[in-house]
Structures are given as structure tokens and as C-alpha cells.
């Protein structure tokens, strides 16, 4: 069977078979280390719902203490599962983060170090891997992994799209409902549901230097964020980004304008929270609820005025720290707020494989969350590495965050316990030279183990 197989000639049952076969044949082009197929008999392995949002900062969830937004549905999921407080994206921008999720490899390895670079062909993704093992794999909503056609990874595709969340996320949620009502009940499903909001807050600045258009609601506008004033000793890449934002948008913004931006962002967060609630309600009312692992996360966060920043693509917590919440009725304890474990988006692929009882591909960089979720003894990472813009690296340990960029003489070190808002850069201080060196060495150690793609020097060492 070839990739040019005519799907229109198939009835539903044969389509499913063909979909499996297609996925299989495609998969074997990528790796010979394929997992074994599932055991004969009824396949009772858990369903997996990977619910991913776009641009949702960890700090933009009401369960995480933000008074300017109400996210009752994300909060509800947190109450019935484990809410990882120290969860970071592998790369704080869309395509790189998503390519890292789906392959379990750093963006420097996937080749998607910036948006719209194509992914390496030889790395299998979780759709292919779980499909091969017998899962019905479905993708709904945002994918944004360049160079990997959805049909190579998912057997059942109601649509692929990248539209504005404000008019598409409702339909993504409804598509999940339609899928669940019509799914193949002889096998478990892996559903990747990509909701777009609150991504399109990026469109706000065009007009938000205008007065807030609802005078009677002005008391809802958030004030300047607490770290609006910050330590300006930043790597050149950050300064360039900051200056670009100032030039294009924010130079004349008043506190009302900054508040307007945040207000819009939080309404978009609340919008998508309703869609999350719809999906959770749909699942909870279905017979699949008890046997479905739910993982909710976001590809990156949003600056929303912290450090004078907007959008993403930097290592401040607002941009790089994301919610990661996992729930599984009866299998994962409820109401756990985990502030101990450093969690990466690289961990999802091994976690899915663990619950699916599938040997993961070789060389995944993340760790299965399962032992942590089930509160079993396990050796966990001491350091968490994240990458950005090809040239940037961030590493965290239990206390510090260290940031460096190729070509920039300025590094950053923040004490995340004493200074969680990242207002004081400790890197220039002699007393912290050893800490900086230890963390820099750890970056080098991890990087030396990676199978990096061929990234152009212009990206690795950009002019700043």
C-alpha cells in the first residue's frame, strides 16, 4: 500500500484498516526499532487525551493564584489530578515546542529551532508510534509541526487547521465530541486536541494604545505587573526583542494600555477554558472517562507586560513556564500540587508510551511522568534544559535559572526561590560565579549528548 492510496474508495471499516496500514508503512520508513504490536484480545489499555493550548502561561490560571482571570475548568482538572508547578516548555515558541513534544527530542535535534523550519524525517512522532501499537490516533485542531503531514501520524483526521481561536476553538471541542461518539471501540484512542486560544492576543497591540472601550469596566484592568520594572542586564537577544516591541507597539503605552492588553489576554484564556470544560464534560459523560489519561499543557506562555515584554520566545517564566496537569481517575492521585519535580514538554512522549505499554523510541530526552504521578520512588532530573531561537539556552535546578545566548556576553542568573519574579540578575556578581559555571557546564554536558540537526550558523550565532 502506498501513500497515494485513494481513501475515497474505502468504506469506514476498511478506512480504519487502511489508516493503520498507511501509518505502519510510513512509520517503518523512519525507524526499524518499532515497538511490538499489542497483545491479542480486547485492548484495554488506557485512552490518552492530550489537550494542548497555545500561549497559556502557568501564571494565567486562577488555580495558580492569578486574581485577574477565572479558569474554573482548568482548575477543576487540577483538582482531580496532579498540577505540576515547575513545568517548562522545551522551547518557548510554537513550532519548536510542538516538534519537541511530538518527537521527545530537543528542537536543536528536530531541526525546528524557529517557526516554520521543517522537522527531521527520521524522528518518529507519538502519533506514528502509538498508531503502530494499535491506538486509534486522532488529531483535532492546531498541529503546527512543519514538514510532517498529519496523515503520516494520525489515522483519523477531522481537520487540520491553524485559524484564529476565537472562531475555531468551539469547533475543535465539538469535533472531539463527534469523534468520541463515533470512535472505534475495539481499541484505545490517542487524541491530540490543539486549542488555539489564547494565542491571538498577539493581534491586540494594533489598537490597544487606544482608550479601553468600556469605561464602566475599567476597574477590571490589571495594574502594571509586579516586575514591570526589572533588571535590564539582559542578553542582547532579549534587548533586541524588547526594543522591537517598544518600537512597534509599546513605547507610548499607558498603564491603561498595558492593562487592556492583559484584560484581552485573560478573556481569551477564559474563552478557551470554556472549551476545555466542554471537552472534559464530554469525556466525563462518556463511558471512556474512567479509562482515559488526560494531559493538559501549553506550548509556551505569554509575556503580558512582565519585564515590559509581550508574546513569547524568551526564557522569563511568563513565556517559558507552562501549566502541565495530568488526571486519570483512580490511577493518579487527586488534588496534588507538585512543586518539586522539574517537568518538560519532552516528558509527554515517554509518558504516553509508558501508559500505552509501548517501548518508547530510542533516545527520547524526556522522562515518563508515570512514577511521579503514581507517587512511586524514582530518580528524577536535577536539571531541566530548554532552548530558544537556536542560540539560546536556559537551565534550571532546584533553585536557580541560568540563561545564555551564543554571541551575547551577558548571561542571566535568577534565584527562583528568593526572586521568583526574576527582577535581579545575579550573574554579574562574583559570589555567583561558581553557580553560573556549574549550570553552564551542565548545559554543555547535555548538549554534547544531543544528535543535533544541521542548523545554519546564521541561526546559531545570529548578529545582535
Amino acid at each position: 500500500m502506498s501513500e497515494s492510496f485513494d481513501f475515497n474508495s474505502l468504506d469506514r471499516r476498511n478506512f480504519l484498516k487502511a489508516g493503520s496500514a498507511l501509518s505502519l508503512s510510513t512509520f517503518f520508513k523512519f525507524s526499524e526499532a518499532a515497538p511490538s504490536a499489542c497483545c491479542p484480545g480486547p485492548d484495554t489499555r488506557p485512552n490518552i487525551l492530550f489537550l494542548n493550548l497555545d500561549q497559556l502561561s502557568h501564571l494565567a490560571v486562577s488555580a495558580h493564584g492569578n486574581p485577574y482571570v477565572k479558569t474554573p475548568n482548568i482548575d477543576r482538572l487540577a483538582k482531580r489530578g496532579v498540577d505540576f508547578s515547575r513545568s517548562y516548555t522545551p522551547d518557548p515558541i510554537c513550532c519548536p515546542a510542538r516538534s519537541a513534544w511530538c518527537t521527545g527530542r530537543y528542537s536543536s535535534e528536530t531541526n525546528v529551532v524557529v517557526n516554520n523550519r521543517t522537522i527531521r524525517k527520521d524522528l518518529p512522532d507519538y502519533g506514528q508510534w502509538l498508531g503502530k501499537s494499535g491506538y486509534q490516533t486522532v488529531h483535532i485542531g492546531k498541529w503546527h509541526v512543519p514538514g510532517r503531514m498529519l496523515k503520516e501520524s494520525f489515522q483519523l483526521v477531522p481537520h487540520n487547521s491553524h485559524p484564529q481561536g476565537e472562531y475555531s476553538d468551539n469547533l475543535v471541542a465539538m469535533s472531539f465530541e463527534a469523534f468520541l461518539a463515533n470512535r472505534d471501540r475495539n481499541r484505545p484512542f490517542f487524541a491530540q486536541v490543539g486549542l488555539m486560544n489564547p494565542h491571538d492576543c498577539g493581534n491586540v497591540p494594533r489598537s490597544s494604545k487606544l482608550p479601553f472601550p468600556f469605561p464602566h469596566l475599567k476597574d477590571q484592568l490589571p495594574p502594571f505587573p509586579p516586575n514591570f520594572e526589572y533588571d535590564p542586564r539582559e542578553p542582547e537577544q532579549f534587548k533586541k526583542m524588547f526594543n522591537g516591541l517598544r518600537h512597534a507597539f509599546t513605547r507610548e503605552w499607558t498603564e491603561e494600555n498595558w492593562g487592556h492588553y492583559q484584560w484581552i489576554y485573560y478573556r481569551m484564556v477564559e474563552m478557551v477554558d470554556v472549551n476545555v470544560g466542554y471537552i472534559l464534560d464530554t469525556l466525563e459523560r462518556s463511558p471512556d472517562f474512567e479509562n482515559t489519561l488526560v494531559v493538559l499543557t501549553s506550548d509556551h506562555g505569554e509575556g503580558k507586560g512582565y519585564h515590559h515584554m509581550l508574546f513569547k520566545d524568551n526564557f522569563y517564566d511568563e513565556s517559558s513556564r507552562v501549566p502541565t496537569i495530568v488526571a486519570f481517575p483512580g490511577k493518579v492521585p487527586e488534588g496534588v500540587h507538585d512543586e518539586e519535580h522539574l517537568v518538560s514538554g519532552l516528558d509527554f512522549f515517554p509518558t504516553f508510551c509508558d501508559y500505552a505499554e509501548v517501548e518508547p523510541p530510542k533516545d527520547l530526552r524526556g522522562l515518563s511522568l508515570r512514577p511521579v504521578l503514581e507517587q512511586k520512588e524514582t530518580e528524577w532530573r536535577r536539571y531541566l534544559l530548554s532552548q530558544s531561537r537556536a542560540s539560546g539556552r536556559m537551565i534550571l535546578d532546584e533553585r536557580y535559572k541560568f540563561v545564555r545566548y551564543n554571541g551575547s556576553p551577558t548571561t542571566q542568573l535568577f534565584d527562583m526561590i528568593d526572586d521568583p519574579l526574576e527582577t535581579k540578575n545575579l550573574a554579574p556578581e562574583a559570589a555567583y560565579a561558581d553557580v553560573c559555571q556549574r549550570l553552564a557546564d551542565e548545559i554543555d554536558r547535555v548538549e554534547s549528548t544531543l544528535d543535533n540537526a544541521d542548523i545554519p550558523k546564521s541561526l546559531l550565532y545570529p548578529k545582535v
Binding site: 498529519l150 475555531s168 465539538m174 465530541e177 491571538d200 459523560r285
Partner: protein
């Protein structure tokens, strides 16, 4: 001109034909979605080209009878969103929502009950969408006793939402605005007749003076604003036609308004 028109004034149309919103009508809209906002400004933040607004769907609302204030009434709706995989690609999939809505011709177009279908189909030449194999997904909604009950798949318990305010929808709210019955206050909102967004406020906006295709118009505006929704700005002309419903990145722009 009100700031909500920021992206879209060039897409509004002028209509010479008479229109009476009290009579049976059919109104048709294009959905414009804005993308590629980065390309809209140069490095100095100066506007350099038209925003890359694209037509990505349509909305048709038909009311076959005259509406008597306070009395039950019916609308037919077809709401189509056509999506592209990438910005420069052709639309690859259509999502179609069709609904028959029973509502009350009151100040907000309070919902009573509705039947709707939701259908996702590929647009050739894209051939790998499984959902073309599935029938339209049907849902019904029923309002009563301060609750709204939405029934979906057979054998699945319905979704039940407790109402704090009378429930409305985009379509019936547009009818209430267009018919001049609209009053400010709080509503519970059934977005796409499905997503429950309670506690929103209908408020008035200052009039906006707009030039549309060489004609000056004084537009009257209302907004739906509050939690869990980007503000929706509803603008109508001197003959009450709703010219546009504008969100943040998406606008419904009137293309045709006729009495039946």
C-alpha cells in the same frame, strides 16, 4: 470611527435597498479572519500594507415570519467556517453548523429550544479527512426551569447548565438588535449554541461615524462583553441592518440583507 473597526472598515458594504427588520428577512455575512499581523507593520511600527484579511466562511440567518414582541419566533441559521492549514493554502476543511431555533422576540432574543447539526467535511483536493465518512452530528437544546439542557450523542447524558440570566445566542441577539428590541443588561450566552458563557453584559456603544463605499453612515453600536468572551461589537446602520459583528481577529461582514 469606533476603535473596533480598526481592521475592517474597508470591507464594509453600502446598501441602497430598503430594509425593514420587522418583516421576514434573510441576512448574509462573510466571515473575515485576520492573519499575518506582523506583515502589517514595518520595523518602525508603521502600517505598510492592508492587513491580510481573508474570507474564511459565511453566516446566513433567515427569519421567515414577522416577529411580534414577546412572542415565540423561529430562525434558520447556516454558519460555515472554512479553514486553511497554512496561511497561504487553500481552505482544506469546512465546518458547517446548521440550526433551527425557537426563541422569544424579546429584548435579547431569549432561546427556547433548538435543533442543530454540526458537520466537518474536507474540501477537495484534500482527501485524507476521516470525518467525511460520518453523518452530521446532531444536538438539541431546551431551556426551562432556569436550566438549559443540551443533548448530543444517543445514549450520552445531556449537558445541563444552570442559568443565572436569560440565555441568548449570536443569531438571536443579532435579531434582537436588528429589530430594535435590544435592551442593555446581563445574559447567559450559548456560543455556537453549544459553549456556555454565562454572565455577559449587553451594553451600548457611542455612535460611530463611518464612511462606507463613499457614503457617510452613523452607525449604532452594541457590545457583548464580559467573562470568557472577547468583546463582540455589533454595528447597525440607519435602517437597522447589522453591518458587522466584530471580534478581535474575526468579523462578520454583511453582504446581503433582503426582506422575504
Amino acid at each position: 470611527m469606533h476603535q473596533s473597526f480598526d481592521l475592517y472598515p474597508g470591507y464594509l458594504r453600502h446598501f441602497d435597498e430598503a430594509f425593514d427588520p420587522a418583516k421576514p428577512y434573510r441576512i448574509e455575512y462573510e466571515i473575515h479572519a485576520q492573519r499575518n499581523y506582523k506583515k502589517w507593520r514595518d520595523e518602525n511600527g508603521k502600517q505598510i500594507v492592508e492587513p491580510q484579511v481573508r474570507s474564511e466562511g459565511s453566516l446566513v440567518i433567515e427569519r421567515a415570519t414577522s416577529a411580534k414582541p414577546g412572542q415565540p419566533c423561529q430562525l434558520k441559521v447556516e454558519h460555515v467556517r472554512a479553514w486553511r492549514t497554512w496561511t497561504d493554502a487553500e481552505p482544506a476543511v469546512k465546518q458547517i453548523l446548521r440550526a433551527d431555533i425557537d426563541y422569544t422576540a424579546d429584548a435579547i432574543g431569549s432561546l427556547n429550544k433548538w435543533n442543530m447539526t454540526y458537520h466537518s467535511i474536507p474540501i477537495p483536493p484534500v482527501k485524507f479527512y476521516k470525518f467525511e465518512e460520518l453523518p452530521p452530528f446532531a444536538k438539541t437544546g431546551l431551556v426551562g426551569g432556569n436550566r438549559v439542557i443540551i443533548t448530543g450523542a444517543e445514549g450520552t447524558p445531556p449537558a445541563i447548565h444552570e442559568l443565572g440570566h436569560a440565555p441568548t445566542s449570536l443569531y438571536t441577539l443579532m435579531d434582537a438588535v436588528q429589530s430594535g428590541r435590544i435592551k442593555t443588561g446581563h445574559v447567559d450566552y450559548l456560543d455556537d449554541l453549544t459553549m456556555f458563557r454565562p454572565g455577559l453584559e449587553v451594553c451600548t456603544l457611542p455612535d460611530s461615524e463611518n464612511e462606507i463605499e463613499g457614503h457617510q453612515h452613523i452607525m449604532k453600536g452594541h457590545a457583548l462583553v464580559g467573562p470568557a468572551l472577547l468583546p463582540q461589537y455589533i454595528w447597525q446602520d440607519e435602517q437597522s441592518r447589522i453591518h458587522a459583528v466584530i471580534g478581535r481577529n474575526v468579523a462578520y461582514v454583511l453582504t446581503k440583507a433582503v426582506n422575504l
